[in-house]
């Protein structure tokens, strides 16, 4: 893991006795925005409060919190912060005061910080449906560590085209088959950036599985785009003559991943996401459970509205983009 120390005091890095899995980079405050703009790997940022204007701390923290790959600790050798508990409540992972600094920020301490981060993140999925007691069983950030016939926690997406009966009546079997095949290809390419895999195809939609690491949920951004850019697909690629409407439902849950006989899989999570999509979501809506939103990019939250409760879970729905304003 990368440890980024932001300070204008060059001596401060001497207090970081980092080795093993950690790699320290000491940077000045002038580098801050550039470094965190596009973090390539998960990183733990230490912010030296003594060399940074206190009135700008809030905006620095806002930028860090907007990037799920980043965590942060505060170095407060002058004891500027009165309410340390509040720092942790607001998302800090470590607080290094003068004494801790004298003792040194060691690899052992950093391991404790990482362990703390894992615990804090894994608290959220407790109570997941379908799992063995709702345990978090991370499937990773991609499919490289997923083995068939084993249970994992995934982010599950239900998608289904609205107006199935009307389409079957109106289009004819051949035309409909071509249009549905093109929609399926579009869906597969749209979920690819977040490593989504179309797992079940029901003819007019299906289930997509996204690996879930337990740290964040890039699939949410992918689905947000699927809704926002929907009409471009409609105009440029869709083989359907009319505008398409589809329902989306998303949740985090456990299931045993299998490649063969997918239709015979028995899973509470699978049932729940089907129910959420078919019984709760209205045509054109994108509904999700609050766990998904909590792990998604923080900036997306304001685009979701309370939609009620379903099967004991809090559900939110995405605000609909309006592409035509009269």
């Amino acid at each position: 893991m990368e440890v980024l120390l932001f300070s204008d005091n060059p001596k401060l890095r001497l207090a970081f006795k980092v080795r093993g899995a950690f790699r320290l980079r000491s940077l000045g405050w002038k580098d801050f925005q550039r470094e965190i703009a596009v973090p390539s790997v998960p990183a733990l940022c230490y912010l030296d409060l003594a060399t940074h204007p206190p009135w700008r701390l809030a905006s620095v923290l806002r930028l860090i919190r907007a990037r799920p790959q980043l965590s942060y600790g505060l170095v407060d050798r002058r004891g500027q912060q009165r309410d340390v508990a509040r720092l942790f409540q607001e998302g800090a992972a470590d607080y290094v005061d003068r004494e801790a600094l004298l003792a040194g920020v060691t690899a052992k301490r950093l391991l404790r910080v990482v362990s703390f981060l894992r615990t804090r993140r894994s608290e959220v999925p407790v109570g997941l449906p379908g799992g063995v007691g709702g345990r978090l069983l991370p499937s990773g950030t991609d499919w490289s560590e997923v083995t068939p016939e084993r249970e994992y926690t995934f982010c599950l997406l239900f998608i289904e085209l609205d107006g199935r009966e009307e389409m079957e009546k109106k289009y004819g079997v051949k035309n409909l088959g071509i249009a549905l095949a093109s929609f399926r290809a579009f869906l597969e390419s749209a979920v690819k950036p977040a490593h989504g895999r179309l797992w079940i195809w029901t003819g007019f939609g299906g289930i997509v599985l996204f690996p879930f690491s337990g740290a964040d949920c890039p699939a949410l951004g992918c689905l947000f785009r699927l809704v926002l850019f929907r009409h471009l697909y409609d105009v440029e690629e869709s083989q359907f003559p009319n505008f398409l409407s589809y329902r989306l439902a998303m949740m985090i849950g456990n299931l045993t991943y299998t490649q063969a006989n997918v239709g015979s899989v028995v899973s509470d999570s699978l049932n729940s996401v089907f129910h959420l999509g078919q019984e709760f979501a209205k045509p054109g809506q994108f509904c999700l459970t609050d766990e998904v939103l909590r792990f998604g990019h923080p900036a997306l939250k304001e685009y979701f509205l309370e939609a009620g409760h379903f099967e004991g879970r809090r559900i939110l729905r995405m605000r609909m983009p309006r592409h035509r304003r009269d």
């Binding site: 925005q33 550039r34 965190i36 703009a37 596009v38 905006s59 930028l63 907007a66 951004g221 947000f224 785009r225 926002l228 850019f229 009409h231 471009l232 409609d234 105009v235 440029e236 505008f243 990019h297 900036a299 997306l300 685009y303 605000r319 609909m320 983009p321 309006r322 592409h323 035509r324 304003r325 009269d326």
Partner: protein
């Protein structure tokens, strides 16, 4: 484009085994104005030219005058649609296309044309436009709103980085639709579209840019505030010159007026000529706005529930 003797030979063989001399001459006339096979060959008008000789002669002239791609496009069209009511099967045509593509071009079925291919080989003229010639283009112009305010408010390096991000976004969106960025100057640029449904492509590129900008502001922008852009699309004739600053064009002047005077921040404005080409699905996204007593323009912008 450097054409090998082998490729010229393929062309000659293809014609000799597929077309009559009369058809060959007619096709040559499509790319070389007033082409007269007898005059070129030296054969007296009353003596028929053997098929093989005619094919070799036309292949030589087509290559010499740099018209190989256009001539091959004509052959492809003839095979697809026939010629003078006759269906024609061109021999070696796939091989001929492969040979031209190996020179760095791609045949685009939808436009029936060869354009330059490969990721690193994008030129303003798609590798096929003639310097100084006039073509009918569709242009998309983007301007970053409040440029000078941004520079005053944020460190210059950060602002430049954000502008570079937008440039990358615009280039990707334009080039994905076979357009080309003709010009970029600090806080805005111009994309050109030439092939196929160029007005549709330019309008879609503008819409996508607004959506991408929304996502950029939401998840990537390192400035504390949002970036805003104004976009406009206009179509018309324009001379092609590699050096953009040398171009004098009423179409580009009108485009600048549309963008500067009528496009609100975070909106895309279309001229009537562009709008009339959109088709019913795409038209739906644009609402008419009265620009002057005589002119109606069409606007797209993103809103939220």
């Amino acid at each position: 484009m450097k054409v090998s003797g082998r490729l010229q030979n393929f062309l000659a063989q293809s014609m000799a085994q597929s077309l009559t001399v009369e058809l060959m001459e007619k096709l040559a006339g499509r790319v070389i104005p007033d082409y007269d096979l007898h005059r070129q060959s030296g054969f007296p008008p009353q003596i028929p030219i053997p098929q093989r000789d005619a094919a070799q002669l036309i292949a030589r002239d087509v290559v010499r005058l740099g018209q190989l791609r256009r001539f091959t496009e004509a052959l492809i069209e003839v095979e697809r649609d026939g010629l003078m009511g006759r269906s024609v099967t061109m021999r070696f045509l796939p091989r001929l296309i492969d040979e031209i593509e190996s020179l760095g071009f791609v045949f685009k079925q939808e436009y029936g044309q060869f354009v330059e291919g490969g990721e690193g080989a994008r030129t303003k003229g798609w590798g096929v436009l003639q310097e100084g010639s006039t073509y009918e283009f569709s242009f998309l112009r983007m301007d970053i709103a409040g440029n000078s305010k941004l520079v005053r408010k944020y460190p210059k390096a950060e602002v430049l980085r954000a502008f570079a991000d937008l440039r990358r976004l615009l280039s990707a969106i334009v080039e994905r639709r076979d357009g080309r960025i003709w010009h970029w100057e600090g806080d805005g640029g111009i994309g050109a579209f030439l092939f196929g449904a160029k007005n549709v492509q330019a309008a879609l590129a503008g819409m996508e840019m607004l959506l991408e900008l929304f996502m950029y502001n939401l998840t990537q922008c390192s400035l504390a505030g949002d970036l805003h852009v104004r976009l406009a699309v206009h179509t018309g004739p324009c001379q092609f010159l590699t050096n953009y600053k040398d171009i004098r064009s009423d179409t580009l002047r009108r485009l600048e007026t549309l963008e500067g005077q009528y496009a609100a921040p975070d909106s895309l404005i279309l001229s009537p000529g562009v709008y009339s080409d959109l088709g019913t699905k795409l038209e739906w996204f644009f609402r008419p706005v009265a620009a002057t007593d005589r002119h109606t323009l069409y606007q797209y912008s993103l809103g939220w529930e």
